[in-house]
Symmetry: C2
Subunit: 325 residues, 2 copies
DNA sequence: CTGTTAGCGCCTTCAT
DNA sequence: ATGAAGGCGCTAACAG
């Protein structure tokens, strides 16, 4: 590996001069600059990033933590981050947590290790106090609402999203409404459930626990929900579903059982997966790519601004009506 | 930031001793090891990764280049890589090329910069000679077949996959067969077209250019294909489609136009996107997650083995029959 | 078993 | 405009 030192020797200058031309610093004689550059080209020299990282205390790497990468929601966020990061010449270190809290903590540790200049958390498992502590090493941005004022966030208001769905269904005349969500006790699920309950409350209806489904993560889970619905004596007339792929799966299986959508069961999704389009699922889009874009901008601003101000950006949901309601 | 040197001073030992306990090296007195560890814990010390990287000439980072991250095929590969990488404590640097050759070359450069210990290319745009040159800096593995014997690869034989589809349709009695692929002149597309032509040739049929569609990448593209098919005087009776999301889109739009699947048009997909399941698309699964897993194993083996042997693994396609044929 | 020392490759202040 | 020299923080011979 050719080093800056060898270049210097061959060009009959000091390493600092070489470093200067490498970094386009001013105060270098035009002639020497050309000479040095010639040798650099001739030797096909490339700087060693690790040395630069160590010396500068900066890596131009942004970490991204997420449960799993093979998931439309998270890869949309990733896409948004990637687009913005490319503009600033930042590289992406993608880290899967598999929803394992310990694993997430390991990722947070990488902030202290200087493996990355900051971290965007697409979901989070550790408590706020812990994040706050790690954020003293490098900026953290969450793509979920967080209860730590000192950590920037960009988020969908999932209460709002679910509430919007509920109000939309209610306005369409539904009173027998069920829901279907993912992780039972996550931050978002809690808010969604609250929106569900308060939505029903607004028309004086008590929730029916036969119509609520939790831990629905996969297409198969959706299928099972549909099968359970089919067996019910008393079915809901509408279902609010957190994810479109689940909604699609439910629609498919329920129709296969001869139940009409939306006549006998209206289904509304709450995200922006393209599968919602193919299955004609009415949905409250959450524009996840936007989430990623904003998240990177927040990180970058934080990094380049003197002030340590934190921001919390709420992305607005958007109703997209299709034939499932 | 606390350094190894400070620890050494406080523990009244040399930096090497500290380094030894840090790295669990043998030949350290139990007592001193405990003493040093105590100080490490007390100061809540974490090593600086960049210093380690520089010193060792190794980063424990594997680069991954792909056109875009928000795509089922590529995120499945990514998932496979992630799973294997986690086992060996390797981190993922995910780099989007956006199908830009220059961008891909920048990523290859990172191999020289020592930003990563190797690169898995999920698709490739640069020619083999170029890859070969970069592979002298660090191991490269492609997730496509490549014509460079010195670079390991793991791949689906896309000729075989398409040929399998053709033979399946032919055996079902079809002779009027069309196809629908992505990038017109990519490595894979070339082989797919060849399989198509040779498949037809085997039953003495000449291809009809009205039935071939190229540059189909998005769901919208699939919709357009369906619309064009509807307008045709003479329609094919079967369609081989490279991707399930396109196949799904075609099925949806063509059925919306009153054309029966599979009676009037049989559709077969050629990958393993889950959307194929939801739309009941018969498909030749390519098991992309397996691709990623093997790719990482190949990289890792290459890195840890003395011999510089390269391997080429062909992953076998698998027919999954559903209702679209 | 432990310490000394010379790197790893580059950046950056301080002189000149 | 240029050079000398001291880091950045850690590893790994080599010498005891």
């Amino acid at each position: 590996m050719t080093t800056i030192r060898q270049i210097a020797k061959l060009a009959n200058v000091s390493v600092s001069t070489v470093s200067r031309v490498l970094n386009n610093h001013p105060y270098v004689n035009e002639q020497t600059r050309n000479d040095v550059q010639a040798i650099i080209d001739q030797l096909n020299y490339t700087p060693n990033s690790n040395a630069i990282h160590l010396s500068k205390g900066k890596t131009n790497v942004i970490g991204i933590s997420l449960p799993l990468v093979n998931n439309q929601y998270y890869s949309s966020i990733l896409e948004g981050i990637a687009k913005e990061a490319a503009k600033e010449n930042y590289h992406l270190m993608v880290c899967q947590t598999n929803n394992d809290k310990k694993k997430e903590e390991e990722i947070l540790q990488m902030l202290r290790n200087k493996k990355m200049d900051g971290l965007i958390m697409c979901s989070k498992l550790n408590e706020g106090s812990s994040l706050e502590m790690f954020s003293t090493y490098a900026p953290i941005v969450t793509c979920e609402a967080n209860d730590v004022p000192s950590i920037s966030s960009v988020y969908m208001n999932h209460y709002e999203t679910f509430r919007m769905s509920m109000d939309y269904l209610i306005q369409k005349g539904h009173t027998k409404i069920g829901y279907c969500i993912g992780r039972k006790n996550s931050f978002n699920s809690t808010h969604r459930k609250q929106a569900y309950i308060e939505g029903l409350h607004s028309i004086g209806v008590t929730p029916n626990t036969n119509w609520t489904f939790e831990e629905c993560l996969t297409i198969d889970d959706g299928k099972h929900v549909a099968q359970q619905l089919v067996q019910l004596d008393q079915r809901p007339t509408a279902l609010v579903v957190s994810c479109n792929h689940i909604a699609a799966s439910i629609r498919k299986e329920i129709e296969r059982n001869g139940i009409q959508v939306p006549e006998q069961l209206a289904i509304i999704g709450c995200d922006d997966q393209p599968i919602g389009d193919l299955f004609d699922i009415t949905t409250i889009s959450s524009q996840s790519e936007q989430l990623g874009k904003h998240a990177f901008r927040l990180f970058f601003k934080r990094l380049t601004t003197e002030q340590q101000l934190n921001e919390h950006i709420e992305v607005s949901p958007q109703l997209i009506e299709r034939t499932s309601t």
